[in-house]
């Protein structure tokens, strides 16, 4: 049986700020099957980032369970979580998520390097994937010399290069103009349809939502609606 990349059961996260308890997520139940292309939306403060952080193991839930590929991660220690992130999850953040002193190609190679992949294989894969995201010829540029859209493409290339079971993206288009955002979404969509990569991303942008197969709306830390598009 094919395991679902993501299963959340009664997932809750409460932040403690002094005396005040802030419930950021409340009893979230969620299943994302393989090859899904899911968009998280909702007003600011509704818990999108919190949910993504929990699923990626960057943060620990207050209660509830998370399964990645059938493996419980909610009680794991930091070092095992790092391992899970390294092999199972690709990341695209809102901004500033490349290592500034490394070139585009080296940034893409970074994750493979951590995985201990041979340098020749690494370079070949990295160049191939950069070509696929439309950055051929820019391999030697550092992030500072790339536009915001180009940087996000490098980040996507880095996220997909080691074929993770899940790619998480927190508002990947927030800092881009609508034209660039569109072409980026087209890229993500093609990655999803061609490579069957499971995608979960958050956004405020109506246009961006329209690219997804499934739209989940969060409100005050709860799932308000979950519809197939």
């Amino acid at each position: 049986m094919q395991k679902n990349p993501v299963i959340c059961r009664k997932l809750s996260k409460t932040f403690q700020q002094g005396e005040v308890k802030i419930p950021a997520l409340v009893d979230v139940d969620l299943e994302i099957p393989k090859g899904d292309f899911v968009c998280l939306s909702g007003p600011s403060g509704s818990g999108k980032t919190t949910l993504l952080n929990l699923i990626s193991g960057l943060d620990n839930p207050t209660s509830g369970e998370i399964e990645l590929d059938g493996q419980r991660i909610d009680q794991m220690n930091q070092s095992s979580l790092a391992e899970i992130r390294l092999y199972k999850i690709g990341f695209v953040f809102q901004s500033y998520n490349l290592i500034p002193v490394l070139t585009a190609q080296e940034n893409v190679e970074f994750v493979m390097q951590l995985q201990g992949i041979d340098s020749k294989v690494r370079a070949k894969k990295a160049r191939h994937i950069l070509k696929e995201v439309g950055l051929e010829g820019l391999e030697k540029r550092r992030p500072g010399d790339l536009s915001g859209g180009q940087q996000q493409r490098v980040a996507i290339a880095r996220a997909i290069v080691s074929k993770p079971s899940l790619i998480l993206a927190d508002e990947p288009t927030a800092n881009l103009d609508s034209h660039t955002a569109e072409s980026l979404m087209e890229l993500l969509q093609s990655m999803n349809s061609e490579h069957g990569i499971t995608l979960l991303f958050s956004t405020h942008d109506q246009l961006v939502m329209s690219y997804s197969k499934r739209l989940i709306k969060l409100h005050d830390g709860r799932i308000a609606s979950d519809e197939k598009l």
Partner: protein
């Protein structure tokens, strides 16, 4: 890869990195310069002091050092002296006899130490013959004459050409008495010698004090002080009977080594202060470099890097920075030391002072591996300590929090 990352990170803030490298380099070259010079000064201090009169080592009868009695002599010193002279590494050897006597001029009487010396050998063993202020040194071993320290001469109100009456007890218990003319007055700068010492030819001394050919001390100097221990061991094991002991300079002049040790501790205090100041400024740089990159480290953690890897990266960056500073500091420091090794270094104002006491006035820095590497090693140790703190902070970093800070 991690090395490449570290190397490039260094040049993100090239001005800051160069400042840090500069601080490390400066501290390094300062330490190299000061330590080599200091050790060189000690060598000079030891040599100047010892070559004045004491020599590097002495052979005496057992117990003579503690209680210099007339009767406690070395038998057949000439023969032993010749044997010691034949040893490799021994530069010069001389025989002395020593007694205490009352010295009377026309106006006053003082007690003084009278030493009979081999006039030819003494010139090579001791700098006193070259420090005669008025008159001349003793002419030959049979001459009936003496030289006298400057302060003693002043106290006795005598000058060159005046006669002194010596009154002491001879080797056989008889009374030793003589009237001898002063042919020279020396000024060594060492109060003990200038106030107390009278030298006369050995043969005359032996005659006056009824010693025949016996003596009290064989004085020696070696070519290289570093080999002193081996030479003394050789003398001890092959030449000496239980009627003779050989003593090194540290035993003969115990104050000298203590003086040096005290000075050494003083200057180490200074060095550590210097290193600490540099260390704290470096710690500051390291810490800043880490804190301002919290978000970047967060990204790396999120991608699946272990905190250990990032700590390694940070330590590697500090190490590279330190090594660069050390390399530059050592190159410049060693060049400076080499220059002074060849040309000699004179402390300001020391030249005149030195000349008066027959000291060359120039210090040669010590060019040994220890002297050169000591400073850099201490700096390396301290900067590595300084890099551990920022590295440890990374271990406390949680990816979510790290990602939040921009």
């Amino acid at each position: 890869m991690i090395l490449r990352l570290a190397w490039r990170n260094l040049w993100r803030h090239s001005r800051r990195s160069w400042l840090t490298i500069g601080a490390i380099a400066f501290a390094t070259l300062l330490l190299i310069f000061m330590i080599t010079l200091q050790l060189g000064s000690y060598d000079m201090m030891i040599n100047n002091n010892l070559q004045l009169f004491t020599g590097h080592f002495q052979v005496q009868a057992p117990g003579y050092l503690k209680k210099p009695q007339m009767r406690n002599t070395l038998a057949q010193p000439q023969q032993l002296a010749a044997q010691i002279r034949a040893i490799n590494g021994v530069e010069d050897i001389g025989i002395r006899a020593k007694g205490f006597a009352l010295i009377a001029s026309e106006q006053r009487t003082y007690g003084a130490e009278v030493v009979g010396v081999e006039t030819a050998n003494e010139t090579k063993l001791s700098t006193i013959p070259s420090l005669i202020k008025t008159g001349r040194f003793l002419s030959d071993d049979n001459a009936q004459e003496l030289i006298i320290g400057e302060v003693l001469a002043r106290n006795l109100k005598v000058t060159v050409g005046d006669e002194l009456t010596l009154l002491g007890s001879g080797h056989d218990g008889s009374i030793a008495a003589a009237v001898l003319p002063i042919v020279g007055i020396f000024k060594s700068g060492e109060p003990g010698l200038d106030r107390n010492l009278i030298e006369m030819p050995l043969k005359s001394f032996q005659e006056i004090f009824s010693m025949h050919d016996k003596a009290h001390i064989i004085v020696g100097i070696v070519e290289n002080l570093d080999n002193l221990e081996t030479i003394l061991t050789q003398i001890r094991s092959t030449l000496l009977t239980d009627k003779q002991v050989v003593l090194d300079w540290d035993t003969l002049v115990p104050g000298l080594m203590q003086l040096i040790e005290a000075d050494f501790i003083n200057s180490w205090f200074l060095y550590i202060c210097l290193v600490l100041i540099v260390t704290f400024s470096i710690l500051n740089t390291f810490l800043m470099a880490v804190l301002e990159r919290t978000r970047e480290f967060g990204v790396m953690l999120a991608l699946g890097a272990k905190p250990f890897l990032i700590a390694k990266l940070v330590i590697l960056e500090s190490l590279l920075l330190t090594l660069l500073g050390l390399a530059i500091g050592m190159i410049i420091g060693i060049s400076i030391v080499l220059y002074f090794y060849i040309h000699g270094f004179s402390y300001p104002g020391m030249e005149e002072l030195g000349a008066e006491f027959g000291i060359t006035g120039k210090v040669t820095p010590e060019l040994s591996l220890l002297a050169i590497s000591l400073g850099p090693l201490v700096i390396l140790a301290f900067t590595m300590l300084a890099s551990i703190y920022p590295a440890l902070r990374i271990r406390l970093l949680k990816p979510v929090d790290a990602m939040k800070s921009v």
